[in-house]
Amino acid sequence: MDILWLGVFALLLIGYFALEGFDIGIGMLLPVLGRTREERDRLVAGMAPFVLAGEVWLVAVAGVLFGAFPHLEGETLFALYPLVVGLLVSWVIRDAGLWFRRRLDGRAWRAFWGGALCAGSYGLALTWGLALAALVQGGPVLTPLGVGYAAVVVGVFAIHGRRFAAWRAGGPGRTGRALLGSAALAAVPVAVPLAVAAPWLLDHVAPSGTLRVLTLVILPCVPVMVAAQVWVWRAFGRRARAGVGARVPSFF
């Protein structure tokens, strides 16, 4: 049971990096990849249907942390206080950029929320890098290693975002396999610390009574969760691009 919940936790966190990594990457690269407003609109519209289904992985991470590792929840979040606050603020600003950008047509409005999307995405990547490094070192929130690690996270997310944009645009060599490759790359910066921290995590798992209840209630939801995620990729993946839907303007 302990191993099962460690596995769930690891899977969700890795899933988050693989699935949100490209959204964050595109957000960071928005001014670079999108030179004109139309290009930026196209980039954001390309990632839009995947964002909601991607960021929920992190919400689930927090939930599992609370449910299956309750003592770590308080300890680690508090130890990383400024980084968690920074991560949350970045997350909210990134999402606000997405939700608000296309609500009005004005040039300045779009530019402002495009900027929020970009800045929030950088904030997310950087705070993740710093937080992971601080966790592994078990120490202060700002170290040279942390800064280096943050740069690594920014780098892999940027690569992943670029791959995703290319995959959406289509073209020779821009295959799903290439995208899977960059997804794996994006997951490495979190998979390594997870592997290192596994014994420590196992030490802090909730008692078996709690885990039994969680397993009982959540296990039946898992097939639905998986099905919903697969549905998103089938509905908005490359095969589904033509048709009536192409004439509905993207909401984000």
């Binding site: 929920v56 927090a62 939930g63 599992v64 400024p82 709690t210 490359r238 839907g245 192409a246």
Partner: protein, 399 residues
């Protein structure tokens, strides 16, 4: 203010902001789902336009519910790590189920609904909004399970220095939960309906060109408000029984007593108004035709929001000084080592960002109402969207 006051104020401010948006989400979701269902069955275009227009308002509102919810979820660890140390083995479970079994699905299905207009088969697209509604209600249930545990730590036992879960069934059927859930869901339905009534009244008062659209919307709003307020008031009074037994003297303090009094006043006036004025005036659409009544309807739209906030103030202030009633005080639950600098900085950051975004969100909602259904962009078929990806060049390279 000391650190404890600041930490409490931070939680209260994010909590109030969160519920202002969540209460509308809870109410609009089923109403939009019903509109879309009627469209799919009858094929009437006006019903589809209603689902898109009110759906757009629902979606704009949803965004802030998520932003504030994220901040709330993490605040437990940031400010109240003593709570997870003492009660995490019990309290964490419902929150974990909420995120995985409810919110995860709600958000995924909402994405499918928002971006699935014109892409998904009609019935599957309809299923999405019903799944969103269902999971939103499930979310409300699990959050209230967690909150009710704080009101009345049922199903748990003290072992050593912390609580352990002994009876999951008791946790799920907590007496402080069973009447609060319908009270809150009723309040949501009443709030969502009030927004539809107020917005429709605004358009009708301005002699809208969309007469049929807003007369129909007004009818949906009044019926929803009738059901909502009956459930709210009924289960509101029903709450006095269990609360009186479990938390005697809860309503005695001045702040709690006043809040409770105002909530009940709003609830009873609303019940009277909906039952004896709005519902009868649906006859021959008098409510839509009598323009003098429309400004009044606009004016009372904020009332359910106010009542809902007062309700939470009653429930939460009433249990002070406890965070887990009778077991752990708020003071003891605060993260040890939390400094005034930390809490002030995060308080300012969260409040500034969320407050600003909340104001912008309401302006966007008001603007959507003002511009009317013709300008709704959610699911609007139109020109080929230059932003939509073009047809596939390499269909074999699918993911």
């Amino acid at each position: 203010m000391d650190v404890l006051d600041l930490a409490r104020a931070q939680f209260a401010v994010t909590g109030v902001l969160h519920f202002l948006f969540v209460v509308l989400t809870l109410g609009l979701a089923p109403l939009v789902a019903i509109m879309q269902t009627r469209h799919v069955i009858t094929g009437k275009p006006v019903l589809e336009r209603m689902a898109r227009f009110w759906g757009q308002i629902y979606v704009i509102n949803y965004a802030l519910g998520v932003f504030t919810g994220l901040v709330m979820e993490f605040q437990f660890g940031l400010s109240w790590s003593g709570l997870s140390r003492y009660a995490g083995d019990v309290f964490g479970a419902p929150l974990a189920v909420e995120t995985m079994g409810a919110f995860f699905l709600e958000s995924t299905f909402l994405g499918l609904w928002i971006f699935g207009w014109g892409r998904l088969p009609r019935w599957l697209h309809l299923a999405c909004i019903w799944l969103v509604t269902l999971t939103a209600y499930a979310s409300a249930y699990w959050v209230l399970v967690a909150n009710s545990f704080l009101q009345n730590p049922a199903g748990a036992e003290v072992r050593g220095d912390h609580l352990v879960l002994t009876d999951f069934g008791a946790l799920l059927t907590n007496p402080t939960l069973v009447f609060a859930l319908p009270h809150v869901l009723g309040a949501g339905l009443f709030t969502g309906s009030s927004v539809i009534i107020g917005a429709s009244a605004y358009q009708l008062f301005r002699r809208t060109r969309e007469w049929e659209f807003f007369v129909r919307s007004l009818r949906v709003g009044v019926v929803g408000a009738l059901v909502g307020i009956l459930v709210t008031v009924g289960f509101g009074f029903a709450q006095f029984g269990p609360v009186g037994q479990i938390q005697p003297g809860k309503f005695r303090g001045a702040a709690v007593g006043t809040s409770l009094g105002f909530m009940i006043l709003i609830g009873e006036l609303a019940l009277f108004g909906v039952l004896f004025v709005l519902t009868p005036l649906l006859f021959r659409d008098w409510l839509a035709r009598w323009r003098w009544i429309h400004p009044l309807l606009m004016l009372v739209t904020p009332m359910p929001f106010i009542a809902a906030i007062l309700g939470w103030l009653v429930r939460e202030i009433g249990r002070q000084p406890w965070i887990v009633y009778g077991r752990l005080t708020v003071k003891d639950a605060m993260s040890p080592g939390l400094t005034p600098g930390m809490i002030t900085a995060s308080f300012v950051a969260f409040t500034a960002v969320l407050g600003l975004l909340a104001v912008i969100d309401y302006v966007l909602i008001a603007r959507t109402v003002r511009r009317g259904p013709a300008a709704a962009t959610l699911g609007a078929p139109g020109q080929p969207d230059p932003a939509a990806p073009s047809s596939p060049c390499h269909p074999q390279a699918a993911f």
